[in-house]
């Protein structure tokens, strides 16, 4: 029997995971899985199921607000979900045939470049030079506007790099199918690097997408009795509460602070991937 203090600490960690996840467009697995395995002594196999549930909880709670506020772009999400989901299926199918180490290394390098790109970004998204609208993006109505509460004005943005974005998202899906790490971080990096979206739109749209990639696996886990209500229920509850809080913080957060928060997380994922690439699993 775990003592009450440890359980409470664990629950607080789930809330923090939801909070950070909803701000940064991540699933929160970076926090949920170590909390379960290291703090609460849950074995890795069971923690992975809880991690998938956490991804969906973050996605649903965060995207409920971001979609209403047009911060998450549902057309971009739909277009790119084709890439992320098919990449994930390919990753699961080809797991035995793909050189996972080489791919980890390549993605580690991509993450390092994305850190450079995010760090270089101006104080505000408005400081970025406007991008040339892509014809397909125009045809699909991907360009958007959102209201930036912090700046008190409506921001319009164009979408470019549709092909590169689709490719990077397919690879991000492939990585999550193969290695199961950092799929949210890769999506944010891809949206930022390839499609040059405002950072808040990148993280919010990533939040909307991650739930869909995780849903197939979650149902598979559920149907095969691999989800444990007594473990996954409290995790999901904590993450839902945290993610909901995160959306309130997001409205008041300047993009500069979002960058400062995002950088160490991207750095952590980059180091993990480079490590896996060089040393192996």
């Amino acid at each position: 029997m775990m003592d009450a203090m440890t359980t409470l600490l664990g629950f607080i960690a789930f809330v923090v995971a939801g909070l950070l996840g909803s701000l940064l467009g991540l699933g929160g697995g970076i926090i949920v899985i170590p909390t379960l395995t290291l703090l609460l002594g849950v074995d890795m196999h069971r923690a992975v199921g809880a991690g998938i549930v956490a991804v969906i909880a973050t996605s649903i709670a965060a995207a409920s607000t971001y979609t209403r506020e047009s911060l998450a772009n549902i057309r971009i999400a739909t277009f790119l979900e084709v890439a992320t989901t098919s990449g994930a299926v390919a990753g699961a199918l080809l797991a035995a045939h793909i050189p996972g180490r080489a791919l980890s290394f390549v993605f580690g390098c991509l993450m390092v470049y994305s850190i450079y790109s995010v760090a270089r970004g101006g104080r505000n998204d408005a400081d970025r030079p406007p991008v040339e609208p892509h014809p397909l993006a125009t045809r699909l109505g991907l360009h958007g506007t959102y209201h930036d509460h912090q700046r008190g004005e409506r921001v319009a943005y164009n979408v470019t790099g549709v092909g590169q974005g689709f490719g990077v998202m397919w690879l991000a899906g492939l990585m999550s199918g193969l290695l199961g790490i950092g799929s949210g971080a890769l999506k944010v990096a891809g949206l930022d690097l390839a499609m040059r979206l405002p950072l808040k739109v990148s993280t919010a749209t990533s939040n909307l997408m991650i739930g869909v990639t995780a849903a197939s696996s979650a149902w598979y886990y559920y149907a095969h009795g691999l989800l444990e209500p007594e473990l996954d229920g409290p995790v999901a509850l904590g993450v839902l509460i945290g993610a909901r809080l995160g959306t309130v913080v997001m409205a008041r957060l300047p993009a500069l602070w979002l960058r400062r928060l995002l950088l160490p997380v991207l750095a952590y994922v980059a180091v993990t991937m480079l490590y896996r690439g060089v040393v192996g699993k």
């Binding site: 649903i60 709670a61 409920s64 559920y222 229920g233 999901a236």
Partner: protein, 116 residues
């Protein structure tokens, strides 16, 4: 094929509908899970462990399970809802993409875990 660029009014509607649906799903899931966690904790307390009125709640497991099902169903239903709304907006290409996403999700489910 008609022009795919949606009028601004229609574009907002998809976002609002999907956002509201996700909000309802969030609150329903959180309520079920919250009640489930409370029941689960109460059932573990020495004073209540043998309470007859608590027994039918089965340590809150049905509540926790329903909360998880609502959570797991939300992303799938969200894509379906968006697909229907895009179709109504005559954004046929985007509606088709929703259908493709659903098909790939189904494939992923049949093939097993696609995201660990």
């Amino acid at each position: 094929m008609t022009d795919e660029t949606p009028p601004t009014g229609a574009a907002v509607a998809v976002e609002r509908w999907v956002g509201n649906f996700l909000r309802v799903a969030t609150y329903v899931a959180a309520t079920l899970l919250g009640l489930g966690v409370v029941t689960n904790l109460a059932s573990a307390m020495p004073d209540l462990r043998d309470a007859a009125w608590l027994a039918p709640l089965d340590r809150g497991l049905p509540l926790l399970r329903s909360g998880l099902v609502v959570l797991l169903a939300a992303p799938v239903l969200r894509v379906m809802l968006a697909g229907v709304l895009f179709l109504r907006n005559r954004e046929r290409a985007t509606a088709l993409l929703c259908l493709v996403v659903l098909a790939i999700m189904a494939t992923g489910y049949i093939l097993g875990a696609t995201h660990r």
